[in-house]
């Protein structure tokens, strides 16, 4: 069994982002970039499935500029067997990304596709659901536990939903998107980082994949959210209660 994992290169989660003065977007020049944390979790889960003997190969895919190779190398250093880089200078909407992934899945024939539930840049939370729809596969989104049954050819997935957990059983092939508590991704060891340098990364273009690029959303402007004005410090519980009662009128 083969597992395909989509990994996105995003502004590192620890970076405090800056909105560009011309309001066209967020500054990504000279900013530390990393693999999207949810994608790391997706890759980690695929690797654990492989290590448990359920899968033979883990293939990482990244779509974006030339630097996505770094993201793929990180994935290979974590343990992915090979990478696919769909190189493009434009940034695509999730629907186009989903079409690209569908197209790759049709060539690679994986039995599982793992994706992070969302990317921490655009926070869309759409791509996994869309790939599943386009392939006609079942989906298990927001996974916090994945158990494979090779015999029955199904995955039993705990999903984080509002107010609790939901358990689904999906037939393979399937798409699974990962939530925060599914696992703790590993760090790549130095020997594995060295080894990753010789693992193959296949280059492709959107033209190779014959994907129709959908651009039905236009970004008009990106602005900073209004700041909350800072409040007052109180020195005692009595003062706090007094303020909450007589100034804020909330207790």
């Amino acid at each position: 069994m083969k597992i395909l994992v989509a990994v996105k290169r995003v502004v590192d989660y620890a970076v405090k982002i800056r909105v560009k003065p011309d309001k066209t977007g967020v500054d990504t020049q000279n900013v530390k970039m990393s693999m999207n944390p949810f994608c790391e979790i997706a890759l980690e889960e695929a690797l654990r499935i492989k290590e448990a003997g359920f899968a033979k190969e883990v293939v990482a895919v990244s779509i974006g500029p030339s630097q996505c190779v770094d993201t793929l190398r990180t994935g290979l250093a974590m343990g992915a067997d090979r990478g696919i880089h769909v190189e493009t200078s434009s940034s695509f909407l999730p629907l186009t990304i989903a079409k690209i992934l569908k197209s790759i899945a049709e060539v690679e024939n994986p039995e599982l596709i793992f994706l992070g539930k969302q990317a921490i840049d655009d926070d869309c939370n759409q791509t996994g659901q869309m790939v599943a729809a386009l392939l006609g596969w079942p989906q298990a989104t927001f996974a916090s536990k994945v158990v494979l049954d090779k015999e029955k050819h199904v995955a039993t997935v705990d999903r984080e939903v509002d107010g609790g957990l939901e358990t689904l059983c999906v037939d393979l092939p399937a798409v699974i998107t990962t939530d925060l508590r599914l696992n703790q991704p590993r760090y790549a060891s130095l020997p594995n980082i060295m080894k990753a340098k010789s693992k193959p990364i296949k280059k492709m273009t959107v033209q190779d994949l014959k994907v129709d690029i959908k651009s039905d959303i236009e970004i008009l402007e990106v602005t900073e959210p209004p700041k909350r004005k800072s409040g007052v410090m109180v020195s005692s519980v009595d003062e706090l209660i007094e303020k909450l009662r007589n100034e804020a009128h909330v207790v």
Binding site: P173, K214, V232
Partner: protein, 357 residues
């Protein structure tokens, strides 16, 4: 213009976030009609439909899809259902709330319709122009939908509060129609597509297993759920939210937060750190990747104020922060800050705060 809303219901009533979605739909245009789509099965569905008909005066129609296929909110049949309903009505907009339900299903429908949906809408400027947060709420993106298909949105319910409306509910009742599902095929198309991929010997083996739901045509089956049964108000819509961070140090200590929430009639929240440390279950997590809250009163104890946490609370009316560390970032957004030891402050609050009526 016509809007279709994918409604959520539970135990015979419409969920508040669906009513918020109706409020949002209302600002799409003066002459827009609003249809609520309810799927499920049996008497609790019909009860919810009856309630949906008078949940908001601007709802003009309630569409009911009653079938065992919709007993559980599985994305596959539900997405097909929305596609099916859309073929029979000319909808300019299709909306769902930004709940785990809406976010699971709506993008799947969108891909079937070849439309790019817009997630987490917090403001509607025009019928095709919206504002949504990106980067965990650290930036706001104004977007315009330019596609030919229906405009598809998930709505952040805390940004569209429901104001109590006093109307004669009898006179403003929407019509309820049952959807004829005789031509509804859940997955014939995808089923045919996938058969050749499956190895047949294996396929027969699979059918011999007793699945929780004996529907061989569906590739996704509901197994069960575990919910937090609690008498406290729902975190997402509570008027008061009391949150604890890692500084609570244990499950036992977290009970103080629960006591305070009880006293104020509020819901309990937690930071990701507190959840990861195992003090509380993960459905209590407040933040960009957990619950987004906007209560009248938000009290944070031992919460440092990570960016993704602040993104989930910044629409609260009054924020109170109690932390030992005077430099904690939470104080920069708090209306009232108190530097102190929560193990002293909480008991004092419990003693001195008035009992909630």
């Amino acid at each position: 213009d016509a809007t279709l809303i994918l409604a959520e219901h539970e135990s015979g009533s419409i969920k508040p976030q669906t009513v918020s979605t109706v409020v949002a739909a209302n600002s799409l245009g003066e002459n827009s009609s609003i249809s609520l789509l309810l799927a499920g099965s049996g008497s609790s569905l019909q009860e919810a439909a009856a309630q949906a008909a008078s949940c908001h005066p601007s709802v003009s129609e309630v569409l009911v899809a009653d079938s065992d296929k919709f007993e559980y909110p599985l994305a596959e049949p539900w997405a097909k259902l929305v596609e099916f309903v859309r073929q029979q009505g000319d909808y300019s907009h299709i909306l769902a709330s930004s709940s785990s339900f809406g976010k699971n299903i709506l993008p799947r429908v969108a891909a079937l319709l070849d439309v790019s949906p817009i997630t987490d809408v917090v403001k509607i400027l025009e019928s095709n122009q919206f504002i949504r947060p990106i980067y965990a709420g650290n930036a706001l993106s104004t977007v315009r939908y330019t596609g030919g298909g229906p405009c598809m949105l998930t709505i952040r319910s805390t940004s569209f509060p429901v104001t109590p409306i006093t109307v004669d509910s009898e006179s403003r009742k929407a019509t309820i129609s049952q959807i004829d599902l005789s031509n509804f095929k859940e997955g014939s198309f995808t089923f045919l597509l996938c058969i050749p991929i499956l190895n047949f010997s294996f396929f027969f083996k699979k059918l011999s297993f007793p699945f929780p739901i004996a529907d061989s045509a569906s590739k996704s089956r509901y197994v069960g759920c575990s919910t937090q049964d609690t008498e406290r108000p729902d975190l997402g819509s509570a008027r008061v939210v009391i949150t604890g961070g890692r500084a609570l140090k244990s499950v036992e200590n977290f009970k103080m937060i629960e006591k305070l929430a009880e006293k104020l009639g509020g819901a309990v929240g937690a930071t990701r750190a507190a959840v990861d440390a195992g003090y509380v279950p993960n459905d209590l997590q407040v933040g960009q990747t957990g619950k987004i809250v906007a209560p009248e009163l938000y009290m944070a104890f031992g919460v440092s104020g990570a960016i993704q946490h602040l993104a989930g609370i910044k629409d609260s009316k009054v924020i109170v922060a109690v932390n030992k560390d005077a430099d904690a970032p939470i104080f920069q957004v708090a209306d009232y800050g108190l530097v102190g030891d929560l193990f002293e402050v909480i008991p004092e609050l419990l003693e001195k705060l008035p009992e909630k009526k």
